[in-house]
Every structure is written in C-alpha cells, then in structure tokens.
Symmetry: D2
Subunit: 316 residues, 4 copies
C-alpha cells in the first residue's frame, strides 16, 4: 500500500502518511527511516545519520535537520540516538549495569551540564507494557530535597527530582499540564521524559533504547498538539528516553503481508485486531529490567561514574 | 498449508496435524473443530455438537466420543462446553455476577453432586496473561477447614479447598506431581483445574469460557504425557475451566496469510515471532475480571444459589 | 507526664504540648480533645462540639473557632467531623457502599456546591499503612477530561480530576509544591486531600474517618509550614479526609503506663521503639477497604446519588 | 506475673508457661531463654549454648538436649542457631550478599550433604510481615527439573525444588498436609521451611535470623500438633529458617510494664490490643530484603560458593 504511495505526488504522499501511521506504527526514528526506505522513495535532504559500535551495542544517530525530513519521517527536528542491544542482554545479569553505562554515554551529551533535572515517568503503571516510565522513576536517585536540607553532606551531587504523572484516563488532566505546573515551581534546567514506545519490529522489543532531544508526546499516535512535552511547551529542554515494548497487531499484520507480497485486504476480521498488541512472552520481567536500566543510565549520566555498589546504596 | 494436508491420505494427515499444532494453536475444542472444517476435510464420526442460547451467551457443546474424533481435533474424548459472551461483558460491571451464574449453570452438570472439591489454579502468577488460575483461587470460597473445625455452623456448605500449584520453572516439580500428592492426602471427590488458554482468534480472548470433563495439560503445547491432570493420573474426575488470554503471534500470522490467500513463507524474520504473544491492550484488567468470574462460577456451582452479597461476605 | 503539664502555666503548657506531640501522637481532633480532657485541664473557649448518630455510625463534630482552642488541641481553626464505625464494618461486605453513603452525607456540606474538584492522594504507595491516599484515587470517578472532550454526553457530571503526588523522599519535591503547580493550571474550585493518619487508640484504627475543612500537612508531625496544603497555600478550599491506620509504638507505650498509673521511664530500650508502628494484623486488607470507602464517598458527595452498580460501571 | 511463677512449684510452672506464651510471645529460642532467665529461675539441665562472632554478626547457638529443657523454653529438642546482625545491615546494599554468606556458613552444617532439597515458603503472601516465606522462594535457585531434563549440562548442581504452600485460611488444607503430599512424591533428602517469626524485642526485628534442625509449626502459637512440619511428620529432616518481623502488641505492653516495675493490669482496653502487631515503619522494604537474604543463603548453602553475579544469572 505505501509502495504505491511512494511513487506518488503530494496528494498521495498525504495518503501515504495516513496509511503509514496506521498500518506500520513506530515511535523509533530508526524504523521510520527504514519504512520510508522500504517504500522505495528516496529520503529528502536534511536527514543525516551515522552508526557506530559501542561495546556490545550498535548505536545509530539520526539528525533530522529540515522540515521536509521531519515530515517524511513523521518526527520532529532534532537528534535521535538508538542503542540496539544483542538479544543476550535480556538474560545476562551483569549487563544491567554495563548496559546502563552504554546508554549513559549517549545520554550525557543531550543534557545540559549543570542544574537541576526533573525526571518524568510517563505511562500507565497498571498496564504491563506501558509501565516502563513509572517503574523507571523507582530507580532514579532523587537528591533535590537532600541538597536543600543538607547541602554540605550531599554537595557533590546534582539536584534531581522525579515525578510519575499518571495518564489522562486516570487523572482527568493532560500529563503535559501536570508537568508544566511542576516545572513552573521547580525550575529545572531540563526534563527527562521516560516512556514505553511502539516498534514495527518484534526484534527491537525491549532491546532498542531511543534517546532524543526533541521531547515526547505521551500516548503518541493520538496526535494532540496540546499534549506534547517539549522545550516549547515546558520552557526547558526535554530529553526523551524510551524503549519499545509492543508491536501493534495491525503493524505485524501489514508486515506479514508484505513478506508475502500482498496488500492489506479489506476484511472485517482485521477490525478486531485494532485493540490488540504483540509483546514478548516474558514482557513482565523485561519491562522491569528495561525500567531499571534506564533509571541507572539516568543516574550515571547525571551523577558521574558511580559504581554499581554506590548506586544500590543510594536506592536501598 | 493445512489446506493441502486436508486433501491428503494418512501420512499427510499426520503432517497436517503437525502443522496445525504449530501454525494455528488453540486450546479451544470449538476452534479445533472450526480449523478442521476450514481445512475442507469432513469431520470423522464420533463428534457431536449442539448450540443454544443462555441469556446473553452463546453456548456450544461438543462431545468427542471416538478415538478418531479425538485425533482429528487433537482433543481427548469428553465433553467441551464453551460459553461465548458478547464483547459488552468486559465493560459492564453488573455482569460479573450474572456471567458467573451463566457459567455455573453449565459447570454444575460436569461435577459430582457431593463430596469435597479441590480447586487448582494453574499458571504463572508473574506473567499477566497466564495468571488467571492463581488469581481465580483468591475468589473461591474455601470451606474445608471451617467444616472440620465447626461442622455445625457451616453444615450447609460443601467442602472446598484450593491450591495454587506454581509452574515447573519456579518450583522444579511437575504441577501434576504436586496436585497428585495433595489429592492423595485430601481425597476430594473431584478436582477443578483453572487455566489460561490460547485461542486462534482475537475475538474470543477473555470472552469464550471453556469447561470440560477431560482434564488439562498445564503449559499445553509441550505434550508431555506425564504432566496431564486427568482422572487417570489423579484417580478422581478432573473438570477443566479455562479462558483464552493470548493468540500466538505465529497463529495470527498464519491467519493473516490465509485471509490473503497465501501460504506461510519461509522467512527468517518469522523466527523472531516465535516468542511473541498477542493480547488485548487492557489484558491486565481483563485477566482480573476473568479470574473473578470463574471463581464466582465455581462458588455458585458448588454452594448453590448464593446472592452477590453472600458471596462478597464469604470472600471479604 | 502531660498530667503535670496540665496543671501548669504558660511555660509548662509549651512543654506539655511538646510532650503531647511526641508521647501521644494523634491526627484526630477527637482524640486531641480527649487527651486534653484526660490531662485534667479544662478546655479553653472556642471549642464547640456536638455528637449524633447516623445509621450505624457515631458522628462527632468539633468546631475549633479560637486561636486559644487551636493551640490547646494542636489543630488549625475549622470544622472536624469524625464518623466512627462499629467494628463490624470491616467484615461486612455490604457496608462499603452504605458506609460511603454515611461519609458522603457529612462530606457534602464541607465542599463548594459547584465547580471542578481535584482529589489528591497523599502518602507512600509502597508502605502499606501509608497507602490509603494513593489507593483511594483508583476508586475516584475521574470526569474532567470526558467533560472537555464530550460535554454533551457527560453533561450531568461534575468535573473531577485526581492526582497521586508521591512523597518527598521519592520525588525530591514537596508534595505541596506539586499540588500548587497543578492547581495553578487546573483551577479547581476545591481540593480534596486524602491521607492516612495516626491515632492514639487502637480501637479507632481503620474505623474513625475524619473530614475537615482545614487542609492537611502531609507527613504530619514534621511541622514544616511550607508543606501544608490549605486554602492559604493553594488559594482554594482544601477538604481533608483521613483515617488512622497506625498507632505510634511510643504512644501505645505511654498509654500502657498510664493505665498502670506510671510515667514513661527513661530507658534506653524505649529508644528502639521510635521507629515502630502498631497496626491491625489484617492491615493490608483494611487499607484497601478504607481507600475504597473514601473513594466511593467522594463520588457520592460530588456526583449525587449514584447506585452501587452505576459506581462500579464508571470505575470498571 | 511470670516472676511469681518462677518461684513456684509444678502447678505454678504450668501457669507460668501459659502466661509466658500469651504475654511474651517469641519464636526465637534465644529470647525464650532470655525470658526464662529474666524470670529469676535457674535454667534446667540439658540446655547448652555458645556464642561467637562471625564477621559483623553475633552468632548464638543453643542446644536443647533434654525434655526438661524443651519444656522450660517451650521449644522442641534440637539446635537453634541465631545470627544477629547490626542495624546497619538493613541500609547497606553490599550486605545482602555478604550477609547471605554468613547465614550460609551456619546453615550448611544443619543440612544433609547430598540429595534433593525441597524449600517450602510458609506464610501469607498477602499480609506484609507474613510474606517472608513466599517471597523467599522467588530467590531460590530451582534446579530439580533442569537436572532431570539436561543432567549433563547442570551436573554440578544439587537438585532443589520449591513450594509456596499458602495458608489454611486460603487453601482449606493444613500446610503440613500439602507438604507431606509433595514430599511423598518428590522424596527429598531434606526440607527447608522458611517462615516469618514473632519476637519479644523490637531490636531483633528483621535482624535476628534463626536456623534450627527441629522443624517448624506454621502459624505457631496455635499449638496444633497435626500442623507441625518436622522429621516425624514428614519422614525427612526439616531445617527451619526464620526471621522475626513482628512483636505482638501485648508482648510490647508487658515489656513496657516490666520496665516500669508493674504487672499487667486487668483492663478492658487491653483486649483491643490482641489483634495488633508492632512492626518497623519500613517493614515492606525490610521483608523484601530479609526474604532475599534467606533465599541467597539457601543457594550458597546448597550450591557451594557461587559469586554474586552467578547467583543473579540463575535468578534472572
């Protein structure tokens, strides 16, 4: 379907975007580019990327620098860094700390060097694959109150605070409103927003960590401009960290058909797939592990090179 | 693929069964029959079925009475009753109790009229869609100890006890071994085994409750004969109650291709789908609700017509 | 010890207050008055109270109308309504809804008649007896976003939003700061703050629900003026609802000695009691039930007379 | 009260025992001896003890070798080893692993050198301070099924299986019955039973780990001979491991009065304390940590000297 679109003029490009968004949903810039390329169209100017290896991880860094590029990928202008881990990382216990070190190395350059940081856990604590954000804040070393109460004892630390903002359906308040209210009182130098993402590919679930300086739209796919958390809406830089935990069932279906060289048929039985998600069978454990590794990475990026034991001590 | 098989002789039937098991996995007798019929083959003798409506529910009752029929459906000889609920049931709060009444009416004839009953919750409490069994036992009215300690006060009740047996990976013991050990000490007149199932169709997830008098194989698909819980292995009748909470990602993929008139292609990218499951987006809440409705149905089937308030009182 | 103080002049009154706070800690105005009376001193002017029965509950209404009265009880000026339930309520399942109706009747007059309401769950979700507030918000019917999105369909409802603000140790931000930030964006007509309390008496645990129009100090006993949630700090009326879930071990100790006619001895072994709390053995279940009854009472006070079934439907 | 008893003849000794059990409840042999000594009576023969230091821990080893000694302490004949940790251990993150090593050194001599071991987690998962046993089994490395399926790969390991048996109120079956049923099928060389205990002293909560070769009575204090898990009832050695998580409120009260030189007064207000327990304010976290340290100690005692990383790897 989007193959047709790729050959098309402006009107079809619009159509293509619509189809693209619904049929192959992804929150990863890496995959948005991949899907565009698979469509056979050539990427517009203003999209630069480079890849390198860091330890066991493959790092892909995509800079979206033009409005045309942003439109093509459906991604705001800015830098998207994806750290892709080997499958092994999920089973190897040493790797939480070393993986966090890898993420921290990519995260640090996206953050301001000084000043307080507010970490916001986005998503719904009561829906397993959406709980990465709320669970992550439990692993963040919170220091702001300690520095206010005992500045001498904790002098070496950077002030960090954390918020689990809930979701619109449970609070009745746009997450962005809550965060904005808190930012206006706390005046951090930056916000780090942690969220679960959707991927188009099962092989990236709980393995591809994306960090970007572009902010984030909680519950993305809904496309409600008011809800975006970015430097424009919050008045401070917003760094987003996320990891895909689900593939949309319709995306998987579209992928399947493509492998078979078919278009998505019009069939009422596909309707019932709209409320379905695809996850690894051990998603409960993987979400816990992913949340921990992001929390640790935030700590290492903000507080310098803590040892594993120092980290545990702060968090126990 | 299985369409070819369906036209085949004995050897191919075997092949077909193998493909069937891996490509379209289901634990529902209703769907096993459906898949067989879709294959174009005619059902062997010894499979009888009837359908009727009970309140909002469609009830399908399949009797497998011959070895040939059992082989065709991949299901042991016995009676399989499936109560299919409208989608509405998941959102309507009144319906937990009324749905339990519907299930209880079908469950009662499968159980012996008198004697103690042991309810076993199968599955892994720590994996959301597998937790129906363990969660269900929390809603079962347990009376055996009360009747032993205060026979006069609780004289009207039937003795019921409950066990959450864990899973092999967490206990190191076959579930069937644990249950057998407990049965040999408690001597119930029947065992009710509650488990989460797999369906081939998204539209049956958390909506099609299957009850059968044939026992159950925990973690089915593994096909380890020692592990089956049935009257042969336990020495007492075993009634199984289950509800599908997942579709295998490969099953969904096969279904997709069939809709498009294609066979499943040989593609390495399909490999990565083997560890994936497809669930509704609100699976956390639906598993809780399904576990509760089964627990209530067990109570109504065993203790007679309790009111909703009496039920709550016993369980609070 | 406080008996001595009660006979004393101003300086001793101060001492008495200090001892009172540390030795017999309570968050209930009812008990503060009781302790004062037990001390043998006569209550200052400006404290009025009346008692009446409502269904199974005893209701005590204390108005603190003078600064002198406020100082004597260690409670801000305002109205404190305590609904005391019979022990039976904890075991009787019908009673969640009927108890909520009783609470709602007392709560309604404390609230403004119109306008949006923000419900804030105070306390630490990860500490069982402190989790009443966070758990309560799960039972509040949240409507604000529905009214904004579909004003016609939900026209009969009052706009309600809810926030679980976390605790200073986990967020690094004073709870009052977070709430203030959200209030400034949401502009509710009132805030309802739900919190777990401390009682001086075991017999009131999970049975005496206090509602007041005076606001609340999260983690009270710390007495940090910045942290208070009241109409002064938030700019809108703050109604507090709480229920005691713990008795301080030192309070229990002091009570014991008083029964024996003794003062609290100076003994190093008493030091180790400072980090102890006294709770009912079934505190896990009682906290769940108390949170539910408060949430239901809030719904009934704000949305008018919903039936039990309507309530469940909104919350499922 | 028991002071009187201590001066008394046989009849009074009986009385004393009754009072002792109700007024100062403890599951620790260490404290039973302490209480006896505090009573002023001299210990009967057949109770030997020695103390030594192991790292940061104080180890007390009490051998009860005579029926008279057993009656005096209210403890079965056998060896009771208590490892008392400094308060620091609860806050220091390194210490889970090193503490487990300390416990393992004392645990190993109580266990048979070879053969399969069944670890049983006793207690109620849904009551925070009673959940040590069920939580502990999550940290036990379970190998029995791996050794059966892949004997060559896991040849170096000792077969271990684990069971969470529930509690009588939730299962309707005596825990001892369930364990006996499983033992008769699994035939372990020993059972390790993990349980939460009651202490008479707040300073030992979550800090004094008791190991004994005498078995255990789940829900002790009830004194129901059928319910005991020991070598007599199970046919194999039973090693009990426990840690106190609560002090009975009446025990604390009695202790208070003793400090003040008073007897326990007859007062109806003391009745209401019978359903109360005293716990540390951070009991939720301490129970998690205690369960983990016991699980790790079991692993080290059974599987030899695993490193911390190897342990995590088995458990992830």
């Amino acid at each position: 379907m989007h193959k047709t679109a790729a050959r098309a003029d402006n009107i079809f490009i619009l159509l293509w975007e619509v189809n693209f968004l619904f049929i192959k949903r992804t929150d990863l810039a890496l995959e948005a580019r991949e899907l565009f390329e698979e469509s056979g169209a050539s990427l517009p100017g203003g999209i630069r990327s480079r890849e390198y290896r860091q330890g066991m991880a493959d790092v892909t860094c995509i800079d979206v620098c033009s409005e045309e590029g942003a439109r093509a990928l459906g991604k705001a202008c800015g830098t998207y860094v994806t750290v892709s881990l080997p499958e092994l990382w999920m089973r190897d216990s040493d790797s939480v700390f070393t993986t966090a070190q890898t993420l921290a190395r990519e995260l640090r350059p996206l953050l301001p060097e000084n000043g307080a940081v507010l970490v916001v856990g986005l998503g719904n604590r009561f829906i397993t694959p959406d709980a990465v954000g709320p669970l992550c804040t439990e692993h963040v070393i919170v220091t702001r109150h300690l520095l206010e109460q005992m500045p001498d004892e904790f002098g070496g630390l950077r002030p960090v605070c954390a918020l689990t903002a809930g979701v619109l359906g449970l609070t009745g308040i746009e997450t962005a409103e809550i965060v904005r209210g808190v930012v206006q009182r706390v005046h951090p130098s930056a916000v780090i927003a942690v969220d679960a993402l959707a991927s188009r590919s099962a092989s990236r679930l709980c393995r591809a960590f994306q960090m970007s300086d572009t902010g984030v739209t909680p519950g993305s796919g809904v496309f409600n401009a008011r809800a975006t958390l970015d430097s424009k809406s919050l008045g401070v830089p917003v760094v987003a960290i996320g990891v895909p935990t689900v593939v949309d069932a319709l995306t998987l279906t579209a992928d399947t058909l493509e492998l078979a060289g078919q278009a998505l048929p019009e069939n009422p039985r596909l309707r019932e797939r709209e409320n379905l998600m695809v996850t690894p069978k051990d998603i409960d454990a993987l979400v816990q592990k992913s949340a921990k590794v992001i929390g640790y990475a935030v700590n290492l990026a903000l507080q310098g090179d803590l040892t594993a034991a120092e980290m545990e001590q702060f968090l126990s």
